[in-house]
């Protein structure tokens, strides 16, 4: 059933035990993202390394399971990785969730994030899963202009 595709055990696990969850007072940027319609909110804390690549990444906040799991998996995938990596993950995730046709095969580099494919069938919930990524995008842009 569709619901089981939405709430896979990996999602529930990340929601119950979010990875990289916590404050980072010495972060280079703190970016806040919220969904005004539903009250989900997260703050992403990012340190940048050389070449504006990503260093440590943590998050804090309060949101539904999809938002929390997406944020938790995202931080695992992007921290201490080149920024281009984060940008291309975002593109792949976005395509997976919003492309008109259901993708025939999923981008390997998404890894665990592939479990979010179930969100496709719940258009009202897409913004829950993409909220952490909107914050990431903003963090990368802020670093750009800095």
């Amino acid at each position: 059933m569709d619901l089981d595709e939405l709430y896979k055990e990996v999602v529930l696990d990340h929601c119950r035990r979010p990875r990289n969850f916590g404050e980072m007072p010495d972060a280079d940027v703190h970016v806040h993202g919220d969904n005004p319609s539903c009250g989900d909110e997260i703050t992403l804390h990012v340190k940048f390394g050389a070449n504006r690549d990503l260093g440590e990444v943590m998050f804090t906040g309060n949101g539904c399971s999809l938002c929390m799991a997406s944020a938790s998996m995202m931080t695992q995938k992007i921290k201490n990785k080149p920024r281009a990596n984060a940008e291309s993950l975002w593109t792949s995730l976005h395509d997976m969730l919003t492309a008109r046709e259901e993708p025939k095969e999923l981008d390997d580099k998404l890894g665990d994030l592939q479990v979010l494919i179930g969100v496709r069938k719940f258009p009202m919930r897409v913004k829950c899963a993409t909220l952490p990524w909107q914050a990431l995008k903003q963090a990368l842009e802020e670093k750009n202009s800095a």
Binding site: L3, Y7, R16, S37, C38, G39, C64, S65, F122
Partner: protein
């Protein structure tokens, strides 16, 4: 109770309730967002478009006359519904939100100046906060709030006297809170304000379809509501104001119908209520609202309120059986809704999982963000009832919530 309405027969008046959603019997518990419509209201809408449709106040042909009679007849019916002294005090709007904006723009613009205070409560809907913030920015007036005591969701009335200082010009509050289910003592609040010369606006969005509402008994200066939460269609609402206040207020929109004569450089305003109804209005809306008012009064609003309270009390007690479930709003005397947080499951997930079992709940901040921040919760699930809901549906909700908790704890 003598003459208890036959609620299960009444339920059959609502065609939409007779359906399955995701393969399960629909249980509609999102009535605070909008109510469903009885056959009588749906028929009034289609009858109007099948037989009587024409523009109002302009033509002298038969159809225009029928449309105008329907429209103005609805105004008179509305005056009776809220016991307004005069039907010219009834202004049709798009809804509660537009009514508040009208008062903020027209009355507020003409009466408030820098340093004046608009008194609100912490349990207001965004639509009774933001228009006043905009007005405050324009005029230099300030906002002040009556606090909510905590999770039990009552206004802290002990603050009222110290808050109602001479700089307060307006007090705007809801009669029933859409998040907490609190029924505020509107009459007492208005009496206090009136004694100090403070103008009052009552947001009756959540009360109008659920209890008798009498503007003279409440003693307010303005009262606003939406048709869609009381069995009427969307897109129609009502502003009632005391004639002497409305008379002195400038129009807020210009156009056809609101003028008595127009020159190239200036115009004269039409009389009440037309001064505030520029352009072709929603005509079918008031006509269908009329049908909704007749429908509610045939049941009896006092009976609806008693039934609402029974449903809410039952739901509240049953929800309290769930360990660690947090509820918001008063333990007793609440109107027909309960907001809650299920332990370990976010409100969004509750709503999605409930939906797949046919149960329509609402999850989020319910347009009460500042209140939610104060209560330190970022979203709640809300079950809101109307007279067509049943105790059996509430029992089913409790089962569904248990299923959801179980589903969510798998693998842990």
């Amino acid at each position: 109770m003598p003459n208890t309405p036959d609620w299960s027969a009444i339920r059959k008046d609502f065609p939409i309730l007779d359906q399955d959603v995701h393969g399960k019997r629909l249980i509609y518990f999102d009535n605070a967002a909008t109510s469903q419509k009885p056959r009588a209201v749906i028929d009034a809408l289609s009858r109007y478009y099948e037989r009587d449709n024409a523009n109002v106040h302009r033509g002298i042909h038969e159809l225009s006359q029928r449309a105008t009679e329907g429209y103005e007849g609805a105004r008179e019916r509305t005056a009776k519904f809220i016991n307004a002294p005069k039907s010219c005090e009834i202004i049709f709007t798009r809804g509660t939100t537009e009514g508040i904006n009208l008062v903020a723009n027209s009355w507020g613009g003409a009466n408030l100046k820098s340093g004046d205070v608009i008194l609100l409560t912490e349990m207001e809907h965004h639509s009774n906060i933001v228009p006043w913030q905009l007005l405050a920015q324009r005029t230099g007036a300030k906002l002040r709030y009556v606090s909510v005591t905590g999770d039990d969701g009552l206004l802290d009335l002990s603050q009222l006297d110290p808050l109602m200082r001479p700089d307060v010009k307006l007090f705007a509050f809801n009669q029933v809170s859409n998040t907490l289910g609190t029924v505020n003592p509107a009459k007492e609040l208005c009496a206090k304000a009136r004694a100090l010369g403070i103008t009052t606006l009552v947001d009756a969005a959540q009360s109008i379809g659920h209890m008798p509402v009498d503007v003279q008994d409440i003693g307010c200066d303005f009262l606003v509501f939406s048709g869609h939460k009381m069995c009427g269609p969307t897109g129609i609402g009502v502003l009632w104001g005391r004639e002497e206040l409305l008379e002195k207020m400038p129009p807020w929109q210009g156009g056809g119908d609101m003028i008595s004569s127009v020159d190239f450089f200036e115009s004269r305003w039409n009389t009440l209520p037309h001064k505030f109804e520029a352009g072709t209005p929603d005509i079918s809306g008031p006509i269908a609202l009329h049908a909704a008012m007749d429908y509610l009064d045939a049941i009896g609003r006092d009976k609806i309120f008693a039934h609402d309270q029974e449903l809410a009390a039952y739901a509240y007690n049953r929800l309290k059986e769930i360990p660690h479930l947090r509820t918001f709003g008063p333990a007793s005397g609440r109107s027909g809704l309960v907001s809650f947080v299920l332990p370990e499951v976010h409100a969004h997930d509750v709503v999605t999982l409930a939906d797949h079992r046919g149960l329509a709940l609402r999850g989020g901040h319910h347009c009460n963000q500042p209140l939610m921040r104060k209560l330190k919760v970022n979203s709640t699930a809300r079950a809101s009832f109307y007279f067509y809901n049943t105790m059996d549906e509430i029992d089913r909700m409790i089962e569904i919530l248990a299923e959801i908790q179980q589903y969510f704890s798998r693998g842990s």
